[in-house]
C-alpha cells in the first residue's frame, strides 16, 4: 500500500477530494474526540480531461430515499443482473439496456478507476448561455473607456450563440434593448425604487399576454416544481416558451446577431451625465440595477445558466442597497464604524443584496462583481451575491489596470475542448452510508433544503440538507463538506467495513449540455481506541488546516474576532493534547508526529491572516479575501494562509525559504506569493546595486539574470492564477515592502532584535507574537494538566 501522502495525492487527482482523516474513527464518541471533524474538501468539477463522456444516464438505486448512483463499490450479481446499493443495501435490477452485462463486459461506472464519472444527459433542450452585463457609468473617463474596451473584447470571446444583455446604470438604470436599428433604445428605471420581478416584467413589456396565461391556467395548474435533479423547472407549453423567448429577445440576444450593434452601443456609452455637485458622490443606483438584472433573468431564463456580470466603479449611493450617502465628507463605513454600530446603511443594504442573492440562486443565476475603485465599493454588503451564487468577486483599483483586464479575460478562459471553464446551475447531492451523515457545507453554495436520511442534525456551515446549489462553478471551486460519524460506540463496524460517500453533481456544462458527475469514495473505519495510530497517520494536515480555517472564517462572519481566535486556539490545543507526544506539564517534552507537524504553523499564520484579522483591512477587503478563500482549492487556500516565499541570490539556485523575518537578507531577492499579491522584494544590497544600474553594465549579466529570474517566475504565477494577483515590485525600505513585512513571521522585532543579533534578517516593527513564542505557549498549554 502506498503511503498516505501518495494515497491522498492520488485520491485528489482522481476524485478531487481531500479528507481531514483518511481513516475514520468508527464511533461517534471517538470521532468527536478527534477535534478535527471528519470532513472533505471537494472540488466537484476537478479538471479531468481523461474522463470519457458517458452518453447515457446513471442507474439509480430504486429506493426512494436513496437514489444513489450505481458505482464501482456496488456488489453486482452478474448472473441475476442485480446490483446492491452500497449505501442502503437495496438490491436493484439492472435496467434492460444493461442486459449484456457480465464480468468481462462491465459498464464504465463499475470500473474502479471510474470512481468519478461524468454522464451527459441527453434529454432536454440545449440551454443557451446568458451573459448579462451590468455596467456602472459613474466613473472616470479613462476607467470607463478601459471598461468599455474590456467588454467589447469579451464579446469576441463569447460563443456566437450565447445570449447577451446590457444594463447600464448611474443615477438611472438603463436596460438596453438590443438590435434596434437607427436608434438606441433602453428602458429606464429610477434608482430609488426596487421592483419585484412581476413589476419589472410588466414594465419591460415581458408579461405574457393575458390570453396565453389564461390558456395556461386552464391546463393543469403549473406550479414551479423541483424535478428530480433538484433544479427548479417550469413547464409551460411550447408556444409559451417561444413567446417568452421572443419577448426576452429584445434584451437578450445572441452575440452573433447583435455583435456590431452592441459594440457600437458600448462605444457610445457615456459617463453618467447627471451633474455631481462638489463635495458629493455621484448617485449610483447599484442596488436597483442588480435587482433589475436579477429580475430580468428571473422572468426570462429561469434555471438556465446565466451570469450577471456587474462592473462597479464605486459604492452604491442611491436607493435600496446604498452603502454610503452621497456626502463626500461622510466616508464609507470602516470596521471601526461597524463595531461601533455607526454603519447605518450596512444592515439594510446587506439585506437587500441577500435577497437578490437568494432570488438569483433560486433561479440558478450567477452574480459576478467586478469592483474597481480606490475606495471601498460595498463588497461587504454585496458579498453574498457572489458567495451564494458562485459568482466571482474581483477587486481592483481601476478598470484601467491589467489586474482587472487580465482577470476579466481569464473569466472566459476555455478548456481543451474549447468550452468555457465555467459551469452553471449545479446541484450537489451527498449520499452517505449509514454510519455517517452530512452536517453541512462551506463554500460558494446555498442549501436546497433537501432533508433525507443522510442529513445530520448537527449543523456545520450551511447544513440541514444533503443538497446544495451552486449556480456558478469552475474547475477550482471547492466546497468544504463536514460529516458526522453517527455509529454508536456499542455497535462496532465489522472488520473491513468501509464508510462510503457519493457526490452527485448535476450541472449545466458551458456547452449547454446538462451533465451529471458522480464521485464515489470510501474510507476505512478504525476503532479509535485501538487503532489511534492508524487514524493519526491518516491525518491530512493541509486539508485539516483548510477545513478548520473555513470553519473559523465562517464563524468570523458572524462572531466577534477574538472569540473565533479563542475557539481556534482551543481546538489546536485539544488536537495537540490528543495527538501530541509529551509528558504532562513538561513543555519541552512535546513532540508531534510528522503528519501533524505543520498544522500548528498553519494555525499560527491563519490567526494572523486577513481572513480572521480585520486590522489594517477594510471591510471590503476582508470580504474579498474571505470570498476567495472560501472557493479556492486546497493548494491555493494554503498559499493564502501561509504565503510562499522564494529566495534568489548568488548563493545558489532559487529556493523556498521560511516565511520568517530572518529570510529577509540584504543580498537576496525575495518572491512572495500570497495568492492575492505577487511581491518581489529586493534586499538592501541588491536594491543598491540595481539603483546603481549594474544590471545594464557589461560584465554583470549574472546580476541582470538574478534580477530577471524572480520576474519571470512571477509572470508565470500571474498568468496562471485567477483572479490575477496584484503584482508588486519593491525593495528594502520601499513602502510596499509592508506587504512582505506583515506576512513574515516576526521572529525578529524591535523588542528582541538585540537579543537575536543583527547579522541576519530584518526586524519587524510589531508587537505580534512570533511563531516561536506561539509554539512555546502552545506546548505549555498542551501539556498542562490543568487544561
Amino acid at each position: 500500500m502506498a503511503t498516505f501522502p501518495e494515497y491522498i495525492a492520488q485520491n485528489e487527482e482522481r476524485d478531487g477530494v481531500r479528507f481531514s482523516w483518511n481513516v475514520w474513527p468508527s464511533s461517534r464518541l471517538e470521532a468527536t474526540r478527534m477535534v478535527v471533524p471528519v470532513a472533505a474538501l471537494f472540488t466537484p468539477l476537478k479538471e479531468r480531461p481523461d474522463l470519457p463522456p458517458i452518453q447515457y444516464e446513471p442507474v439509480l438505486c430504486s429506493r426512494a430515499t436513496c437514489r444513489a448512483v450505481l458505482n464501482p463499490l456496488c456488489q453486482v450479481d452478474y448472473r441475476a443482473k442485480l446490483w446492491a446499493c452500497n449505501f442502503c443495501y437495496q438490491r436493484n435490477q439492472f435496467p434492460p439496456s444493461y442486459s449484456g452485462i457480465s464480468e468481462v463486459n462491465q459498464p464504465a461506472e463499475l470500473l474502479p478507476q471510474f470512481s468519478t464519472i461524468e454522464y451527459v444527459v441527453q434529454r432536454g433542450p440545449q440551454m443557451p448561455l446568458v451573459f448579462l452585463y451590468v455596467v456602472d457609468t459613474c466613473m472616470e473617463e479613462e476607467d470607463l473607456q478601459a471598461l468599455k474596451e474590456s467588454l467589447q473584447m469579451s464579446l469576441s470571446l463569447l460563443p456566437p450563440t450565447a445570449l447577451v444583455g446590457l444594463i447600464t446604470f448611474g443615477r438611472i438604470v438603463h436596460v438596453h434593448e438590443l438590435g434596434c436599428e437607427g436608434i438606441s433604445k433602453s428602458y429606464v428605471f429610477k434608482g430609488t425604487k426596487d421592483l419585484s420581478a412581476k413589476q419589472l416584467q410588466e414594465m419591460l413589456g415581458l408579461a405574457k399576454p393575458a390570453a396565453s396565461s389564461q390558456a395556461r391556467g386552464s391546463q393543469a395548474p403549473q406550479q414551479p416544481q423541483y424535478n428530480r435533479c433538484g433544479a427548479l423547472a417550469l413547464r409551460g407549453n411550447v408556444a409559451d416558451q417561444i413567446l417568452w423567448r421572443v419577448l426576452a429577445s429584445r434584451f437578450l440576444q445572441p452575440v452573433q446577431k447583435v455583435d456590431m450593434n452592441l459594440t457600437d452601443l458600448l462605444g457610445e456609452l457615456q459617463r453618467d451625465s447627471w451633474p455631481v455637485v462638489q463635495g458629493k458622490r455621484p448617485l449610483r443606483s447599484l442596488g436597483v440595477a442588480m435587482s433589475i438584472a436579477v429580475g430580468l433573468l428571473e422572468c426570462t431564463f429561469p434555471n438556465t445558466g446565466a451570469r450577471i456580470m456587474t462592473f462597479i466603479g464605486g459604492p452604491a449611493t442611491h436607493g435600496p442597497g446604498m452603502v454610503v450617502g452621497d456626502e463626500l465628507k461622510t466616508p464609507i463605513r470602516s470596521w471601526h464604524d461597524i463595531e461601533k454600530g455607526n454603519a447605518k446603511f450596512m444592515k439594510k443594504a446587506a439585506k437587500h443584496y441577500e435577497s437578490l442573492a437568494s432570488r438569483a440562486s433560486a433561479s440558478g443565476h450567477v452574480m459576478d462583481i467586478y469592483a474597481c475603485a480606490l475606495d471601498q465599493t460595498g463588497l461587504l454588503e454585496m458579498k453574498c451575491c457572489a458567495n451564494n451564487t458562485g459568482g466571482y468577486m474581483v477587486m481592483a483599483d481601476s478598470f484601467n489596470t491589467s489586474l482587472f483586464k487580465q482577470t476579466f479575460q481569464r473569466v472566459f478562459s476555455k478548456d481543451v475542448q474549447g468550452a468555457f471553464k465555467m459551469a452553471f446551475a449545479a446541484a450537489l447531492e451527498v449520499k452517505t452510508s449509514r454510519e455517517v451523515k452530512v452536517s453541512g457545507a462551506i463554500g460558494p453554495c446555498v442549501s436546497l433544503n433537501a432533508k433525507g436520511p443522510c442529513v445530520s442534525e448537527n449543523e456545520i456551515g450551511c447544513g440541514g440538507t444533503c443538497q446544495w446549489k451552486m449556480c456558478g462553478l469552475d474547475p477550482s471551486t471547492t466546497l468544504a463538506l463536514y460529516f458526522e460519524v453517527v455509529n454508536q460506540h456499542n455497535a462496532p463496524i465489522p472488520q473491513g467495513g468501509r464508510g462510503a460517500l457519493q457526490f452527485v453533481t448535476q450541472y449545466q456544462h458551458a456547452s449547454g449540455q446538462r451533465r451529471i458527475r458522480v464521485t464515489t469514495i470510501a474510507r476505512n473505519w478504525a476503532d479509535a481506541q485501538t487503532q489511534i495510530q492508524s487514524i493519526a497517520a491518516s491525518f491530512d494536515q493541509e486539508a485539516a488546516a483548510i477545513l478548520m480555517a473555513r470553519l473559523a472564517v465562517y464563524r468570523a462572519e458572524t462572531e466577534e474576532g477574538p472569540d473565533v481566535l479563542r475557539w481556534l486556539d482551543r481546538q489546536l490545543i485539544r488536537l495537540c493534547q490528543k495527538f501530541g507526544d509529551y509528558h504532562k506539564d513538561d513543555p519541552n517534552s512535546f513532540r508531534f508526529s510528522e503528519t501533524f507537524s505543520l498544522y500548528p504553523q498553519f494555525m499560527f499564520h491563519l490567526r494572523r491572516s486577513p481572513f480572521l484579522q480585520v486590522f489594517n483591512n477594510s471591510p471590503d477587503e476582508s470580504s474579498y479575501y474571505r470570498h476567495q478563500f472560501n472557493r479556492q482549492e486546497l493548494t491555493q487556500a494554503l498559499i493564502m494562509i501561509q504565503p510562499v516565499l522564494y529566495a534568489y541570490s548568488f548563493q545558489g539556485p532559487p529556493e523556498p525559504v521560511l516565511l520568517d523575518s530572518s529570510s529577509i537578507l540584504p543580498d537576496r531577492i525575495l518572491l512572495m506569493d500570497t495568492f492575492f499579491q505577487i511581491l518581489i522584494y529586493h534586499g538592501e544590497t541588491v536594491s543598491q546595486w540595481r539603483k546603481a544600474g549594474y544590471q545594464e553594465m557589461a560584465g554583470y549579466e549574472n546580476f541582470r539574470h538574478l534580477l530577471q529570474a524572480p520576474v519571470d517566475d512571477a509572470q508565470e504565477l500571474l498568468h496562471s492564477r485567477f483572479p490575477m494577483p496584484r503584482y508588486i515590485d519593491t525593495e528594502h525600505g520601499g513602502s510596499q515592502a509592508r506587504f512582505l513585512l506583515s506576512k513574515v513571521n516576526p521572529s525578529q522585532t524591535h523588542n528582541n532584535m538585540y537579543t537575536w543579533g543583527q547579522e541576519s534578517g530584518a526586524p519587524i516593527l510589531t508587537d505580534d507574537v512570533s511563531l516561536q513564542v506561539f509554539m512555546d505557549h502552545l506546548k505549555k498549554l498542551a501539556v498542562s494538566s490543568a487544561a
Binding site: 438611472i172 433604445k185 428605471f189 429610477k190 419591460l204 451633474p275
Partner: protein
C-alpha cells in the same frame, strides 16, 4: 368643435326632453311639432330663408325716416316698443316668475313672442294661454299651416310674426314705408289693449308687401339708414337731451295695434359694430385722457399710448367707476377689467419700450410696491414722489433724481417711458428671479401619444413631419438671430419614451420609462436641445418615430405622468417652458391620474350636473400646482373618438395658461390641415413664461377676483405658468371705500415673466379711470363686450358649483337689474312699458342671451359633455375680442360681394331670417367656420367657388375651397385665409348646404334665433328682460 354633439340626426328630435319645461308649461303639443321641423322635415326651413331674404331687402334700403318719425328723436329708444304689448297683468298668469325658461318651465311671454316670430308655434301658444286676446287669431294661422304642411306655410307665418311686434317701433330707418304708422302702435298696444284681432290680418299682408317690393341689397348694405338706426338705440338717454324724444314718441302713439316684431327693430350688434367702425375706424385713439372709453374691439383703430395702457392690453367694463360701494351695489354693473398682457401690437403702433435701470432695478413705492408710472406725483423739487396708489411719499433714489419743470413735471418726462407711457417693460434684476439666479431660456417639449389610434390615423407621422420645419420658427427674442428655446421629445402610450438627441451622438437614444408611479426624466442632458445644433439628430428622430411604432397595437395611454414628466424635465433643466401634448384617448392605463368614463347624461339638468364640469382627481390639481411652480405650460391637442373627460384632462392646461384643442374623430384629409394650422400658431405665438402678475389699485378699491388660465395660491398673486398673446385675465374689482372723483381710480398691472430668450422682465400696464357719483356716467362709459366677457367667465365658473338653472337665473336677473337701474336712475321719465336701454349696453341682452345658449349653459343631453367642458374652459382665458366673436358670430354674405373691393363684406345679423335661398354665407365665431350654400345658390357662384356646375354636383364632404383662378374664388379664399390668420385658433372650414343634415350645426350659431337645444330667441329674451325690468321697477 361641435360635430361631436350633433352627430345623430335623431338627436334633434330628442332635444325636446331638454326643453321639457316648455312642454310642461304649455302642453306637449306645441313644442314638438315645432322641433319636428328641424329634426324631421328639413323642408320646414326652406321657408324662413325666403322670408328672410325679403326682410333685409325691405328694411335695408335706408329709406328715409317716415314722416311720422319726425318726432322720434334720433336718439330715442325704441326697444321698448314690442314689449309694451304685454300688459303687466298677463305676466302674472303663467307661473314663471323666474327666468327659468331655458331649462324648464318657460315663461310664456317670451315664448309667445318667439312663437309669434317664428310662426311655428303659434297654434300651441294660442291654446295654452287662451287668455291672450291676440292668441285666438294667431292660433288660426298657426293651426292652418301646421297641418297644412310646413313647407309653404311657415314662411308666411313666420315673417308676419316677426315683423309684427317690432316692425313698428324701430321705425325710423328700418321700417318700410308702409309701416310708419304701425310703429307706434306696438308700444301702446302692448300696454293696454293688446292684440285683439289685429295681428293675423295685418301680419301676412304686412309681410308680403314689403318683401316683394324691395329687392335691394341685403340689410346691412343700406348704409345711410343704419347709422341712424344705431343712434336711436343708443339711447341718447345718457346724453340727456333726448329724453322727450324717444320715450315720448313711443308712448303716446297709440296707433293701430301692430303685432309684428321686426328683427330690425331691436338693437343690432352688427349695426353697433358697423357704427363704431365708421366712427373710429382707421383713427388714432390717444390714451391721454383718463376714463376714456375706447372703440369697440371689432373696430380697426390705432392706439397711441399717452399715459394709459392701450385697450389692447386692458379693457374695463366701465371707464367711470361709481364713487361708492353703495352706488356700485345699486347698479350691479360689475367693475372689472380684462387684461391681455401679451396682446399683439399692430405694426403701426409702437412696441413696448424697455426700461432698464440696471442694477438698481425698478423703482417702486416703498409701501405698496407699485412701480414707477405716470401717475406718481413728484414733490419737493423732484426729490420725493407721492405714490398714486397708496399716497405714500417716497424719496426719489439719487440715480433717478431729476428736476421738475414749471408744471411740476420732471424734465425728463418724455425721455422716460415709465413717466409718460401707460405700458412699458422693465428689465428685472436678480431679486426678481427664482432663487436669485438668472432664468434659463424656456423649452418646448413635444409629447406625442403613439398609441394605436394616433398611429393608425397617421397623426404621428403628420406631427413629426411638420415639426421638422416648424421648429425653425420657434419664437425668439426681438432681434435675436435664432430662438433660444430648447426642444425635447417624448412619445408615450402606457409607457413614456424620452429621447436623447444631444448633438454629439451618432444616433438618437430612446429611453423607456415604464414606472408610472413616480415620473422622472431619465437623462439630465441631451433631452432638451437646441434645434439648430441637433438638427440632424432631431430630424433623424422625427423620421424614425412613426416607423418605430408602425406595428404597435397598444391602445392604452397614460396622461398625468406625461405632464409630470414635462414638469420634471423643466425642474431638471431649471427652466420654464411649454408642453405640447398630442393625445388620443382617455388615460385608462394603470397610472396616477387614470380616468374612467363618467359621462352620465342622466346628470344633465340635475343639481349634480356640475360634476360633469368638475375635474375628477386631486392628482391633476397637484399637477397644476407643480406645473405652475415650475412655469410649465401645458397645451393639449386632443384627438378623441369618444368621451375622454375633457373636464379633467383639460384641468392642467386651463390653470397653466395652456390651450386645449380638440379634433373629434380626427381624419387626416379633413382635419389634418386644420390641426397643423393650430399647431403652427401655437408654436409660433409670442409668449411669456413663469409669470406672476399683480394688479394694484389706488385706494378705495381692489382686485377681488380673477378669471383665466391661471393659478392663484393666495388672493393677490396671479401665477401664470405661461401667458401668450391670446390669453386674457379678467379681474373683478370691489370697493373698499369711497373713491375720489377728482383723482379717479388707478390700476397698475405688473407682470413679472421670463421672455422666450430667457430674460426676466416686468411688463407694467397702467390705466386711469374716472369716478363719478352719477350712475349715468357709469352707464355711459360701459363697454358691453368687456361686460359680457366678465359675465361669461363668472357664469362659466359658477356652473362648477351651482345648478345651471341658478346660473342662468342670476344672469337674467342681473341683466334686468342693471338695465332697470339705468331706467330708474338715468333715463328720463317714460312710459313704463317702454324698454329703455343705455346706449353703451343696448346690445348687451343679445350677448347674454347668446351666452345662455352656449353649450356649457344649456342643459341638454344632446350636447356632448366633453364639448361643453371644452367650451367652458376655452372661454375662461378668452380676451374680449374672442368672447365677443364667440357669442356673436360673424355672418357675412358672399354672393353679392364686390370681388374687386378690398374691404370684406359687412356682417349681417345672426338670424335665420337673413339667409336666402340663393345666398352664400360665411359664418365664423373663432372656433367654427361655415360656408353655407343656399339651395338656390347661383350656379355661377358655385362654379366659381368649387368648379362644379351646380350644388348637386358638390361632393358631400368637401372641406376646403379648391384653388381656382377666378376673382370670386380668390376673394373668398382670401377672406377665409385672412380669418384663419387673424383668429387665435385655426378653424375647420365646413361647407353646409341648405337643408342638408349638417346644417343643424350651422344653425346653432344663429344666435338671435331660438336655440336648438333650448334657449330663447333674442326677441323673446328681450321681452322677458323687459318684463323683469318692469317688475323690478314696480
Amino acid at each position: 368643435m361641435s360635430e361631436h354633439g350633433y352627430v345623430a340626426a335623431t338627436s334633434y328630435s330628442q332635444a325636446q326632453p331638454g326643453l321639457g319645461g316648455y312642454q310642461g308649461g304649455f302642453g306637449a303639443a306645441p313644442a314638438q311639432p315645432h322641433y319636428g321641423h328641424y329634426g324631421g322635415a328639413p323642408q320646414a326651413f326652406t321657408a324662413p330663408p325666403t322670408a328672410v331674404q325679403k326682410f333685409p331687402t325691405s328694411s335695408g334700403p335706408g329709406l328715409p325716416p317716415p314722416p311720422g318719425t319726425g318726432h322720434y328723436n334720433p336718439n330715442s329708444q325704441q326697444n321698448g316698443a314690442h314689449m309694451q304689448r304685454y300688459p303687466p297683468a298677463t305676466y302674472g298668469q303663467p307661473p314663471q316668475p323666474s327666468y327659468n325658461s331655458m331649462a324648464s318651465p318657460a315663461p310664456p311671454p317670451p315664448m309667445q313672442l318667439t312663437n309669434q316670430m317664428s310662426g311655428m308655434n303659434l297654434g300651441n301658444y294660442g291654446k295654452g294661454s287662451s287668455k291672450w286676446h291676440w292668441s285666438p287669431s294667431q292660433v288660426n294661422p298657426g293651426r292652418c299651416f301646421v297641418p297644412a304642411g310646413p313647407v309653404q306655410n311657415p314662411p308666411s307665418a313666420t315673417s308676419p310674426m316677426a315683423q309684427q311686434p317690432f316692425r313698428g317701433p324701430p321705425p325710423p330707418n328700418a321700417v318700410q314705408p308702409p309701416m310708419p304708422p304701425q310703429m307706434a302702435p306696438p308700444a301702446s298696444m302692448s300696454m293696454g289693449q293688446p292684440y285683439p284681432g289685429a295681428p293675423p290680418p295685418t301680419a301676412p299682408g304686412g309681410f308680403h308687401q314689403p318683401g316683394p317690393g324691395l329687392a335691394g341689397p341685403p340689410g346691412p348694405a343700406g348704409p345711410p339708414g343704419y347709422p341712424q338706426q344705431g343712434g336711436p338705440f343708443m339711447g341718447g338717454h345718457m346724453a340727456g337731451p333726448q329724453p322727450g324724444g324717444f320715450p315720448g314718441g313711443l308712448g303716446p302713439q297709440p296707433g293701430p295695434p301692430q303685432k309684428k316684431l321686426d328683427l330690425d327693430s331691436i338693437p343690432s350688434t352688427t349695426q353697433v359694430i358697423e357704427d363704431d367702425q365708421a366712427r373710429h375706424g382707421g383713427q388714432v385713439f390717444s390714451t391721454n385722457v383718463r376714463g376714456q372709453v375706447p372703440p369697440l374691439v371689432t373696430t380697426n383703430f390705432t392706439v397711441q399710448d399717452q399715459g394709459h395702457a392701450s385697450p389692447r392690453f386692458i379693457r374695463c367694463t366701465t371707464y367711470s367707476f361709481p364713487r361708492t360701494a353703495e352706488l356700485a351695489k345699486q347698479c350691479q354693473v360689475p367693475l372689472a377689467c380684462v387684461i391681455k398682457p401679451f396682446a399683439r401690437v399692430p405694426k403701426n403702433e409702437a412696441p413696448l419700450y424697455l426700461v432698464n435701470h440696471g442694477e438698481n432695478g425698478p423703482i417702486r413705492c416703498n409701501r405698496c410696491k407699485a412701480y414707477m408710472c405716470p401717475y406718481m406725483q413728484f414733490l419737493d423739487g423732484g426729490r420725493r414722489y407721492q405714490c398714486a396708489f397708496c399716497s405714500c411719499v417716497n424719496e426719489v433714489p439719487v440715480f433717478y433724481f431729476q428736476h421738475l419743470d414749471h408744471m411740476g413735471r420732471r424734465v425728463d418726462f418724455y425721455e422716460r417711458a415709465e413717466l409718460s407711457l401707460g405700458s412699458y417693460e422693465m428689465v428685472a434684476t436678480l431679486d426678481y428671479c427664482k432663487n436669485n439666479k438668472p432664468p434659463k431660456p424656456p423649452a418646448y417639449i413635444f409629447m406625442i401619444d403613439v398609441s394605436y389610434n394616433n398611429i393608425k390615423s397617421g397623426l404621428v407621422r403628420l406631427i413629426c413631419d411638420e415639426l421638422k420645419t416648424l421648429l425653425d420658427k420657434l419664437p425668439r427674442e426681438e432681434g435675436a438671430e435664432s430662438s433660444a428655446i430648447k426642444v425635447g421629445f417624448v412619445t408615450y402610450n402606457k409607457t413614456l419614451h424620452f429621447y436623447n438627441v444631444k448633438s454629439s451622438l451618432s444616433q438618437p437614444q430612446m429611453m423607456v420609462v415604464s414606472d408610472m408611479a413616480e415620473m422622472y426624466v431619465p437623462l439630465p442632458d441631451g433631452f432638451l436641445v437646441d434645434f439648430q445644433e441637433s438638427r440632424a439628430l432631431v430630424c433623424n428622430l422625427l423620421s424614425q418615430i412613426p416607423e418605430m411604432f408602425t406595428e404597435t397595437n397598444e391602445s392604452e395611454t397614460v396622461f398625468a405622468p406625461v405632464i409630470q414628466a414635462g414638469v420634471e424635465a423643466f425642474k431638471e433643466a431649471d427652466c420654464s417652458g411649454k408642453l405640447f401634448i398630442f393625445h388620443s384617448s382617455m388615460p385608462t392605463a394603470e397610472a396616477p391620474g387614470k380616468l374612467k368614463n363618467r359621462d352620465d347624461k342622466k346628470l344633465v339638468n340635475t343639481d349634480k350636473e356640475k360634476t360633469l364640469f368638475q375635474p375628477l382627481k386631486a392628482t391633476y390639481e397637484d399637477l397644476s400646482k407643480d406645473c405652475v411652480a415650475q412655469g410649465c405650460c401645458v397645451d393639449l391637442f386632443l384627438f378623441p373618438n369618444q368621451f375622454v373627460d375633457v373636464a379633467t384632462m383639460a384641468d392642467v392646461p386651463s390653470h397653466t395658461g395652456g390651450s386645449v384643442f380638440k379634433y373629434n374623430n380626427f381624419q387626416m384629409d379633413t382635419d389634418g390641415e386644420h390641426f397643423l394650422r393650430d399647431l403652427r400658431k401655437e408654436v409660433q405665438k409670442s409668449i411669456g413664461f413663469d409669470g406672476i402678475m399683480r394688479v394694484r389699485t389706488s385706494t378705495g378699491f381692489r382686485a377681488t377676483d380673477f378669471f383665466g388660465a391661471i393659478h392663484m395660491n393666495n388672493t393677490t398673486d396671479v401665477e401664470m405658468a405661461a401667458v401668450d398673446c391670446d390669453k386674457a385675465v379678467t379681474v373683478e374689482f370691489k370697493h373698499d371705500d369711497a373713491l375720489s372723483e377728482e383723482t379717479g381710480a388707478f390700476i397698475q398691472c405688473a407682470l413679472l415673466y421670463t421672455t422666450v430668450g430667457g430674460q426676466r422682465r416686468l411688463r407694467i400696464l397702467n390705466l386711469g379711470l374716472n369716478c363719478s357719483s352719477h350712475l349715468s356716467e357709469l352707464y355711459k362709459s360701459c363697454e358691453t363686450d368687456t361686460l359680457v366677457n366678465f359675465f361669461a367667465k363668472s357664469a362659466y365658473r359658477a356652473i362648477l358649483n351651482q345648478p345651471l338653472k341658478n346660473v342662468r337665473d342670476i344672469l337674467v336677473n342681473q341683466t334686468a337689474h342693471m338695465l332697470a337701474c339705468y331706467r330708474k336712475n338715468c333715463a328720463s321719465a317714460s312710459v313704463a312699458s317702454q324698454l329703455i336701454l343705455p346706449d353703451a349696453m343696448k346690445v348687451f341682452p343679445v350677448y347674454i342671451n347668446s351666452l345662455m345658449k352656449t353649450p356649457p349653459l344649456t342643459g341638454s343631453t344632446e350636447l356632448a359633455t366633453d364639448e361643453r367642458a371644452h367650451q367652458r374652459l376655452a372661454l375662461m382665458a378668452m380676451a374680449v375680442e374672442d368672447s365677443q366673436l364667440l357669442l356673436y358670430p360673424r355672418l357675412t354674405s358672399l354672393h353679392y360681394m364686390d370681388v374687386s373691393n378690398e374691404v370684406p363684406p359687412a356682417p349681417t345679423r345672426c338670424s335665420e331670417e337673413r339667409l336666402t335661398d340663393d345666398g352664400v354665407f360665411l359664418l365664423e365665431n373663432g372656433h367654427v367656420l361655415f360656408l353655407w350654400l343656399g339651395q338656390a345658390s347661383p350656379p355661377d357662384v358655385i362654379q366659381g367657388l368649387f368648379n362644379v356646375p351646380s350644388l348637386a354636383h358638390l361632393q358631400a364632404h368637401v372641406c376646403a375651397l379648391p384653388e381656382l383662378d377666378n376673382p370670386l374664388s380668390k376673394k373668398v379664399r382670401a377672406i377665409v385665409n385672412d380669418l384663419l390668420e387673424k383668429r387665435p385658433r385655426s378653424m375647420k372650414l365646413q361647407i353646409v348646404r341648405q337643408k342638408d343634415r349638417p346644417e343643424m350645426m350651422f344653425r346653432q350659431f344663429l344666435v338671435e334665433d331660438k336655440g336648438l337645444h333650448g334657449g330663447t330667441s333674442y326677441m323673446d329674451f328681450l321681452c322677458h328682460v323687459h318684463r323683469e325690468i318692469r317688475q323690478l321697477l314696480t
